[in-house]
């Protein structure tokens, strides 16, 4: 063989040193860059957490809800369920890829369908999780310095604002709505209670104490004495906070909520786009596109993306809920 032919073969394509097709390799490189994006977010979360290491919210106290079990304290169970759903849909995806290797159209169809269902359950669960987090549960008071004061009873159990604060008939002021003034100026809904009502409620209920966000040596939040509690609320309390958004967060540092929304939101967006891509590929499978092509490699490529989404969730789960 002459060198000219050999060179034409080497540089003219058709030579696969990595034994992977162009599309698959590019999917891998996309995944590397996306993994670095997610690491950037998670590392930034770590930065903020190390910055406030002595006052970061305890995840077990934040995510304690389970759908249809109202008032039951179930830390972590729901998110464990979500993790399992995502791993399970990863399994059906890899089974679809495997069936694709055997050119078994009906099995690929079934497994792709199950993968899509798993993805939808996960996105729905995440929406529920967000909704619970945004609505909040106990309510808290934010101080002038931006710290969060929560309420507990003598045994250290959390007490919700609605349990000890009485709402007076006359509110301080009405919520400013667009229809009452400039059409482009409005504000979010006002908290159910005013600061004065919280102070009255605290004074009237002898066994309610204030809990600050500072963690003690045992890793628990510091509970103030009765005098300190009233003093702290009267002196520094500024706003009543219910639930969490990008400005305030009844569970502790607003940064916790910001990163929660941003990272799980970005991940949820990946899951959502993964579901959309899976649906497109699903219809291609049903229509027999890959059957005619005699190769189900497209299923393999979206599979890589789908597994990556699962992989990211494994890390999000650890750093948001466990550590």
């Amino acid at each position: 063989m002459s060198t000219v032919v050999a060179e034409g073969k080497t540089w003219g394509g058709g030579n696969q040193p990595l034994k992977a097709s162009y599309g698959k390799m590019m999917m891998w490189f996309f995944i590397v860059s996306d993994a670095l994006t997610f690491s950037g977010f998670l590392a930034a979360y770590g930065f903020s957490r190390f910055k406030f290491i002595d006052s970061w919210p305890i995840a077990d106290e934040v995510f304690t809800h389970f759908p249809f079990l109202h008032g039951v304290d179930a830390p972590m169970y729901y998110v464990a369920f979500m993790t399992f759903v995502l791993i399970m849909s990863s399994v059906t995806m890899v089974l679809a890829v495997d069936a694709g290797h055997h050119l078994n159209k009906s099995k690929v169809t079934l497994y792709m369908f199950l993968t899509i269902i798993g993805g939808l359950i996960f996105v729905g669960s995440q929406a529920w999780e967000w909704n619970t987090f945004i609505k909040g549960d106990y309510g808290a008071v934010q101080t002038k310095g931006g710290n969060i004061l929560q309420f507990v009873d003598g045994e250290g159990h959390r007490v919700a604002l609605r349990d000890f604060v009485v709402s007076a008939a006359h509110q301080d002021r009405a919520q400013h709505e667009r229809k009452n003034g400039l059409w482009f100026v409005s504000e979010g809904s006002l908290p159910s209670y005013t600061m004065d009502e919280v102070i009255h409620g605290l004074q009237a209920n002898k066994d309610v104490l204030v809990r600050t966000q500072i963690l003690n040596e045992a890793g628990e939040k510091t509970v103030l004495s009765r005098e300190e509690s009233i003093n702290q609320i009267m002196k520094n309390g500024k706003v009543v906070v219910e639930g969490a958004n990008l400005h305030v967060n009844e569970y502790g540092s607003p940064l916790f909520a910001d990163f929660f929304f941003f990272i799980t939101g970005f991940h949820g967006f990946h899951v959502f786009s993964g579901v959309v891509i899976n649906i497109i590929i699903f219809f291609n499978v049903v229509l027999g596109t890959y059957e005619r092509r005699k190769s189900y490699e497209m299923v393999e490529k979206v599979g890589l993306y789908w597994h990556f989404v699962d992989l990211v969730w494994v890390f999000v789960f650890t750093f948001f809920y466990l550590v």
Binding site: L36, F50, T143
Partner: protein
């Protein structure tokens, strides 16, 4: 097109008969690891601290990396790729991520010290 899969996991300790069987085996293992994580997350045993972080947190991080390994190697079939592709993807990511984490956590700890020992009042 032949699709050969390496069917043994745990360094050859466990060998499966078919690819499908391996997938279910890996699922069982991942579920077990997740269950252990959730269990430890709920009871939160106090095992002291190690290298400036709670020992329990190190265990969580190690278990997470174990899970990530099996997802990448068996679900994403990294085990069946050539060595060069594997190293390109994995080492690049690992090197850059470790570097980023080191810098940001170092800086975060420093800012914490400035807040704590410096002249910035936060307790109000």
């Amino acid at each position: 097109m032949a699709h050969e899969h390496k069917l043994e996991i745990f360094r050859g300790l466990l060998k499966f008969k078919s690819n499908t069987q391996k997938i279910w085996g890996v699922l069982a293992f991942l579920t077990l690891v997740t269950a252990v994580e959730v269990f430890l997350g709920i009871i939160k045993p106090d095992w002291g601290s190690f290298l400036g972080m709670k020992a329990l947190n190190w265990i969580f991080i190690i278990l997470t990396i174990v899970k990530a390994y099996y997802i990448t190697w068996d679900f994403m079939h990294m085990r069946d790729e050539t060595k060069a592709l594997r190293r390109m993807v994995v080492w690049t990511a690992i090197f850059l991520i470790l570097y980023l984490i080191f810098i940001l956590l170092q800086e975060g700890g420093y800012v914490f010290d400035v807040y704590k020992d410096g002249y910035i009042k936060r307790d109000f």
